[in-house]
């Protein structure tokens, strides 16, 4: 294997299973690459090298004994640093939890352990999943491997940077208003926000618990399917999780889109005046490719989408409720921009929240009607390619980015971004696919149909550019 770190998760998994490389060798290769490049990319907050090597040796011993746990057996992965890991600090990207070492794992970590994944470490993130990007210093949020002067988007910023740079074979992020799909889009990855209730939130530091989702950020749809499979399923400790059976996400992945009905949200997204021209043209080409493969694409609309960002904002009161004691005790350990956002969360009234709840129900009904006529919705993944650090104001970030992602958190629908090309200045752009509740398999199948017709996810950023 010439460079294991350039492979996708499927490639790494296959190399380990067929014993062309051991898990220990693969893990060592990633750790060496982290050591060499992460001083610039700043994608990890904690690297668990010794623990990873020990895990890898156990996986190699099992394989030698003839026991293969499945596609994550021995595969080195990284976790966003809000997923609790026993004995390994979990900071939420904040100085306020700098020394927080949980005594128990999130069930997500237990599931990944059981699947044989090797944890390389905990990735950087925007503070408590709602802070701003930070280029330097303690708790820096990560630089974009496609251009280190650009942000990765957030809040799963380190997972995006590490994954794109080949500093892990798979990663997990979390998504409350777009925190998986934003970084995946900006870093040229597949990012899948699962259906709400499919993956437990227990042992995950919350932002807004009714909108939080944990999901994969990886190089291909197959990788996303495998990681989702590992972490999906009912958790008796999380009342929001569904007890329905989890289907196979890889089984129908190659089924294609012939006859699949896709609803293009043209007015709200494609004709939005602020949509970047390069995103628009790449998205239109991608939708054309899906049509060429036999998908039936029609324009659809849900007028209440215009209100979605306004509906989403009062849910920030959940964020304040979680933080109100900690910020009182350790407010000076929060970055100022995070404190300011927290204050916003406190200043929505009960009337605002009730109105948001009512309007969300209207939005849900409008979107449900769309699904009477289509199997999935399609539109661009983000408004623009990755911006330079410090480019946008607080509300500009919310308005432009959340427009593309937050509605689907409000509705809890499965939503996946998949790379669809590059901007004129070489930055990745994506399309997004949204499906019915718990129909994550169809969403991934559509993403795969597009992915296999192009080579966007085979391209890698040049490490020669990873210097300041």
């Amino acid at each position: 294997v010439s460079n294991i770190c350039d492979l996708d998760l499927q490639g790494v998994s296959e190399a380990i299973r067929t014993r062309r490389v051991s898990s220990a060798e693969a893990t060592a290769a990633y750790l060496e690459r982290i050591e060499r490049h992460d001083g610039v990319l700043m994608s990890y907050l904690t690297v668990t090298g010794e623990r990873a090597m020990a895990q890898a040796r156990v996986m190699d011993a099992e394989l030698t004994a003839g026991h293969w746990r499945g596609p994550l057996h021995g595969v080195p992965i990284a976790l966003k640093d809000l997923i609790e890991t026993a004995g390994v600090r979990t900071t939420g990207g904040s100085r306020a939890l700098r020394d927080n070492v949980p005594t128990t794992n999130s069930p997500i970590v237990d599931k990944l352990d059981a699947a044989g994944a090797v944890m390389l470490g905990k990735t950087a993130m925007h503070e408590f999943a709602f802070g701003r990007p930070r280029a330097n210093g303690e708790f820096a949020t990560g630089r974009n491997p496609w251009n280190v002067e650009r942000v990765t988007a957030g809040s799963s910023s380190g997972s995006g940077a590490a994954m794109a740079a080949g500093l892990c074979a798979g990663s997990l992020g979390s998504d409350t208003g777009g925190s998986i799909r934003g970084p995946a889009s900006f870093c040229g990855l597949v990012g899948h926000k699962p259906s709400y209730g499919l993956v437990t939130r227990r042992g995950v530091l919350p932002m807004c618990w009714s909108l939080d989702h944990v999901g994969p950020m990886v190089r291909s749809t197959w990788d996303a399917a495998v990681m989702l499979q590992a972490i999906a399923g009912h958790d008796p400790g999380d009342a929001s999780t569904s007890s329905r059976a989890v289907p196979s996400y890889t089984e129908g992945l190659e089924a294609g889109v012939r006859g699949v009905r896709l609803g293009l949200l043209r007015r709200h997204y494609l004709e939005w005046p602020d949509l970047h021209a390069d995103v628009k043209s790449a998205s239109e080409a991608a939708f054309g490719e899906l049509a060429n493969q036999g998908a039936r694409i029609t324009d659809v609309d849900a007028p209440m989408l215009d209100q979605a960002v306004h509906i989403w904002l009062p849910f920030l009161s959940e964020m304040f409720d979680y933080h109100k004691e900690l910020v009182r005790e350790r407010g000076q350990d929060y970055w100022p921009s995070t404190r300011h956002r927290l204050y916003m969360g406190a200043m929505f009234s009960a009337a605002d929240m009730l109105r948001a709840q009512r309007l969300r129900t209207v939005l849900a009904r409008q979107v449900a009607l769309l699904f009477d006529g289509v199997d999935a919705l399609i539109f661009p993944g983000q408004a623009m390619p990755a911006a330079p650090f410090g480019y946008q104001s607080e509300t500009e970030v919310i308005a432009s980015s959340n427009r593309f992602t937050a509605p689907w958190n409000l509705l809890g629908l499965p939503a996946c971004v998949v790379p669809c090309g590059f901007s004129a200045d070489g930055l990745p752009v994506s399309i997004q696919i949204v499906g019915r509740p718990f129909d994550d398999a169809t969403v991934l199948r559509i993403a795969r149909a597009y992915e296999r017709a192009c080579d966007w996810n085979q391209r890698r950023p040049d490490p020669a550019g990873w210097k300041l």
């Binding site: 916003m344 009234s349 709840q357 849900a364 607080e394 308005a399 718990f438």
Partner: protein, 89 residues
């Protein structure tokens, strides 16, 4: 002696009255301070101006939310989730 009003009241903090009366955005600052008070927030002085500016910027979103027409006969639900019967879309 404390100048801060009790949480939950509409009384304005005395320390901000002069600023509010003098500034061109006095009405907005008064509203901001009343909302800070109602929320029971303790905002450090160094955070106050930028928090006000963010709050002011946020008003267009809140105003749009409040102006949106709701023609929904049913009450909203706090608990309904996509994983529950009838939940989500």
């Amino acid at each position: 002696l404390t100048l801060a009003p009790a949480p939950g009241t509409l009384e304005l903090p005395n320390t901000w009255e002069k600023t509010m009366a003098d500034g061109p955005d006095a009405a907005a600052r008064a509203r901001f301070e009343s909302e800070v008070s109602i929320a029971g927030l303790e905002i450090p002085n160094e955070d106050r101006e930028i928090t006000f500016l963010m709050w002011a910027d946020m008003q267009k979103y809140r105003d749009t939310l409040r102006a949106a027409e709701v023609e929904l006969p049913l009450e909203p639900t706090f608990m309904q989730k996509p994983c529950m019967p009838g939940g989500g879309a």
